[in-house]
Amino acid sequence: MNDVTPYILLSAILFTIGTVGVLVRRNAIVVFMCVELMLNASNLALVAFAYQHGDLEGQIAAFFVMVVAAAEVVVGLAIIMTIFRTRRSASVDDASLLKY
């Protein structure tokens, strides 16, 4: 297998789907999942390029992305929990007091 372009295209597609997901869904958790999807897409691209260039740096980067994603999920979900506890709803649109 000598050409990684399909991987890159797949990663692009997943990334786009993730983006649309973030914009369309209203449930906070689903939005969060879409963000995770986008992160995975970028990981795929990193690994693919690592393979392309024969340099493990890509995989190291992917690894770090995962670590950061973990931290992010932890805090993100904690926030969603607190919002849910006070507002009894996990919809993203409900938290819209900070406006004109």
Binding site: T19, V22, L23, R26, V92, D93, A95, S96, L97, L98, K99, Y100
Partner: protein, 643 residues
Amino acid sequence: MFLFTEGGHSIPVVDPLGTAGVFSLMWLVIALPLAGAAVLLLGGRRTDSWGHYLGTAMPIGSFAISVYMLLDLLGRDETERSVSQHLWDWVSVGDFRVGMDLLVDPLTILFLLLITGVGSLIHVYSIGYMSHDPRRRRFFGYLNLFVAAMLMLVMSENYLGLFLGWEGVGLASYLLIGFWQHKPSAAAAAKKAFVINRVGDIGMSLAIAMFFVTFGSTSFTVISQGAGEAGDGALTAIGLLLLLGACGKSAQVPLQAWLLDAMEGPTPVSALIHAATMVTAGVYLITRSNFIFELAPHAQTAVVVVGTVTLLWGAVIGCAKDDIKKALAGSTMSQIGYMVLAAGLGVYGYAFAIFHLLTHGFFKANMFLGAGSVMHGMDDDVDMRHYGALRKAMPVTFATFAMGYLAIIGFPGFSGFWSKDHIIEAALVESPIAGVCALLGAGVTGFYMTRLMLMTFFGEKRWLKDVHPHESPSVMTVPLMVLAALSVLGGVLFIGHWIVDWLSPVVGEAPEHALPIPALALTAITVVVVAAGVAVAWLLFGRRPVPATMPIDVSPVIKAARADLYGDAINEGLVVQPGRVLTSGVVGFDHSGADGLVRGGASVVAGAGQGLRKLQNGFVRSYALSVLSGVLIVIVTLAVVNL
């Protein structure tokens, strides 16, 4: 030294000598009244008690110095009769150097004598006239200020100094006309006088600017020497601008509306400023600038035209006025018209203009002070229809007024006869039309002066109930007698053509001009015309009783004359109304236009702010969308740029 002889007459060059002897006191002539004015105006209450005596002493002092200078000049040879004194460098910028210089030459000395002589008499008269006015000190202060400014005007050796005196006189007349400021009419008249003078001053300023541009200096000496080489266009323009200035100051036709309103001021003011001195400043200016007018024939014809028109204009107004002072003011305007006409005739006329100016100074001041004395007796009532048969009540005033009357109508032997007759004669020679108008004017003068005399002193009493006229105190009648004597003996100046020869070093000589008809016949015609005027007046006002109230249904001519031939209406319509509309328009434009732009800009910014505010709608997903659109823009531009 003469400039050059052209067309038979030579134009003298102003070439003054250094000061010597009494002339070193030249500056004192101005300094005295100026000091008097300063002391009186700044002195405040303390100078109230003796203020007016100091005020009167100043012009008398100047008069004494002037007489002394006259004697010194008489003793000199004809070519050395002009002396100049440099006081200090006034304005020197680059090659525009103007010194505060004074010049006394035959023309100036005559004016000095007139101003200080008649001025002193009027000051003495004012002591009586203003005796019970609370602000007498301030009045004398203003009078002294006026005398100082007038002296500066006539004695200055350059046009800028002349302009300084010119505006100083304008200011003094503003202050004196508006002396009784609590009367709104007086304040309005004062403002009107100053503004119209100011319009005339546009001419003066531009003329002086042109002097500098063309001759590089504003001093008479340099200009008179360089006048020969200047271009005709420049000279004519300067001439016309000087004429505009003269009209403003001497109340000639285009700018004459202020003179009749100026009668709001106290009578001595009218006598001094609006009869003897200030209004003649225009004639002095034209005579002094003879080296310009001689080389600008068009300007001279303009002067003649203005003189003739004003001559008739003033006469017609004089006939219809019931207010004694306004009638005299109308006659002043007409007499100055004569002088301007004479000055416009060129070298022939200058001497006669000045001669008439002097005699007019005497008899007009005499009549104004007489009118003042009449008003003094009639509790300041100016309406002639409430006078009548005052000759018995105020014999001295009647006698002196009669002398002035005989002089002004040109009764043979009196001063007015000599001066006006020669003007008519010169006018007939130079420009016949003007001559005929002058002759006609003489007749009308006879008419309105006789009407004035009959309505005031003859006929039966038309006094108001509690009015009982009495003769004025001697402090007022003595100056009247002196002036009456001068009006009678004024002709002496003309014995053996003395005044013409006296002024020739200033205005140049002219060969004897051939008269179309013998002089005696011409004089006879004039006397007949005047007699006709007098007779008509006698028929209308002598035989029939004068109605106590002004008749309303009169011919349109008289209606027009009563409204100053609609002079004011023209000014109002042409200048004041459009000016007011323009001003409010400009204020409106400034508020909505210039300021509108600024306020408009501010509201646009505020509107934009309101609009953008709506973008912040609180929904996370909208913000995410804007982030995405940002990314898209970046990607698209990258793609486009790379292609």
